[in-house]
């Protein structure tokens, strides 16, 4: 299908998913996961020029979708109470929640437009009255605050600053320096395929370092399948997937 909307218009992966659900008139409680994943991947492909910090959030969602897609193929999972578990459940919950906040944002915007029509005024306290202004009681303000308590507060602030380096995001930062792009990964796999007529897909994934590498590899394989350069074959259900060169 034609993709007429630019990715820059989306505020995040959930926003993009809601858009896809909307234009396809999918039922949010019964999302055709294969279709939506395909379409989502198609969008992501056009994202290569974007910075990795933004892209990483879209890629994490890609991984989630692929995981759900995979789990949908497996025998139905059952929870402790014997209820069937829909692998899409968590995603649907998140989408609904996000959708609600989007509606609320629109509602608030309407309210703002109305409320902006009121004018306020600053204080106009007559001089005679202003003269009665109580002087600031700095002792009361400081209260029982001691210097050692102030120091303690400062140490807490500094400690939090040091802790603030979020482990996940700082990893994204390193990946940015590694500069793996989908294009490079495609070339890498293409070269590998040139030397190997057939190889094990799970082995290929295992050789990747880190989640983002796995995701990009996955995307590259999908892309090469689409261009017809490789073929993925699974001999029996849940068996290993073999990648074959198409000559």
């Amino acid at each position: 299908m034609a993709l007429s909307v630019k990715l820059d218009n989306f505020e995040g992966p959930l926003d993009l998913l809601l858009h896809l659900i909307d234009i396809n008139k999918f039922n949010i409680f019964d999302i055709p996961i294969v279709e939506i994943t395909d379409q989502y991947m198609e969008y992501i492909k056009n994202m290569e020029n974007r910075d990795l910090n933004t892209m990483s959030e879209f890629l994490v969602m890609a991984a989630t979708l692929l995981e759900i897609k995979a789990r949908m193929l497996l025998p139905v999972e059952v929870d402790e109470e014997g209820e069937e578990v829909d692998p899409r459940e968590e995603l649907v919950r998140k989408l609904l929640e996000y959708k609600m906040y989007k509606y609320m944002a629109a509602e608030l915007k309407d309210r703002m437009v109305v409320a902006e029509r009121a004018f306020y005024r600053g204080p106009a306290i007559p001089d005679e009255v202003a003269a009665y202004e109580q002087p600031l009681d700095i002792e009361e303000l400081v209260g029982d605050l001691t210097l050692s308590r102030l120091n303690q507060i400062f140490q807490n602030v500094i400690r939090r600053q040091n802790e603030k380096i979020d482990p996940i995001r700082s990893r994204f930062g390193r990946i940015e320096q590694e500069e793996i792009s989908l294009d490079e990964k495609i070339i890498e796999i293409r070269e590998y395929v040139a030397g190997h007529e057939s190889f094990c897909f799970s082995g290929l994934l295992e050789r990747q370092k880190g989640r983002i590498q796995v995701i990009v590899t996955f995307l590259a394989v999908l892309e090469l399948m689409k261009t017809g350069e490789i073929q993925a074959v699974q001999d029996h259900p849940f068996g290993d997937i073999r990648i074959r060169r198409v000559s």
């Binding site: 505020e11 995040g12 992966p13 959930l14 926003d15 039922n27 949010i28 409680f29 019964d30 910090n53 933004t54 959030e57 969602m61 998140k94 609904l96 929640e97 996000y98 609600m100 906040y101 989007k102 509606y103 609320m104 944002a105 629109a106 509602e107 608030l108 915007k109 309210r111 703002m112 109305v114 409320a115 902006e116 029509r117 009121a118 004018f119 306020y120 005024r121 600053g122 204080p123 106009a124 306290i125 007559p126 009255v129 807490n156 939090r160 802790e163 603030k164 995001r169």
Partner: protein
């Protein structure tokens, strides 16, 4: 009989004076004035004062003058009636107007409905880092810090400000617009369809 009448007359006069005093206070202070301050000004307790101001609000509304009293959490403020915007804008400077981006509005709605909320929770709900928009909202004075969460790292909690209430025509955080009925309806219908589907299977 006549004694009673006289007492009523006194009461009316007394009431009139009290209302005038409240009006004077709200007018002179300009900003939102806490109900305890108004109470101190007129020498009554806060409950009586709140009742009195609510009565005044009704009276203001029925007399349809140029101003109205709005309630913001536990404060009251005087402002012009919205219908006179067109007359005012011809001579007065446009009041502070926020042109918020869609992202900022989304973050604001998460903060408004989820407060107090941490950066991490906002990011989780939106599926995307929202720090930039959140920082702007803090700068605009629509969102403020609301303490620290009692959790590892003691992350900052965020909530909406009085400025938010004023600029979005919301009386209090409990008075936020609820999910639009048709949206709730749509969601409910979809859920029912799903149940139906499951039953059919």
């Amino acid at each position: 009989m006549s004694g009673e009448l006289r007492r009523n007359e006194d009461t009316d006069l007394e009431l009139e004076k009290l209302e005038a005093a409240v009006e004077a206070v709200l007018f002179a202070m300009g900003d939102a004035v806490e109900v305890d301050k108004i109470a101190a000004a007129i020498g009554h307790d806060t409950d009586t004062t709140r009742r009195l101001v609510h009565q005044m609000m009704d009276r203001y509304n029925s007399r349809a003058g140029g101003m109205e009293i709005i309630e913001l959490e536990d404060s009251f403020q005087l402002c012009t009636r919205k219908e006179y915007y067109d007359a005012l804008i011809r001579v007065a400077k446009q009041p502070k107007k926020y042109s918020l981006t869609d992202v900022q509005l989304e973050v604001l709605s998460v903060v408004a409905y989820r407060q107090p909320v941490t950066r991490q929770e906002i990011e989780k709900i939106r599926g995307v880092n929202s720090d930039h928009a959140l920082n702007r909202l803090v700068e605009y004075g629509l969102v403020q810090e609301a303490g620290r969460m009692d959790a590892p790292g003691r992350p900052i909690l965020f909530g909406t400000t009085e400025e938010f209430l004023r600029n979005f025509g919301v009386r209090s955080t409990e008075d936020l617009p609820s999910v639009q009925p048709e949206v709730a309806e749509e969601m409910k219908n979809e859920a029912e369809e799903e149940v139906q589907l499951k039953l059919n299977l």
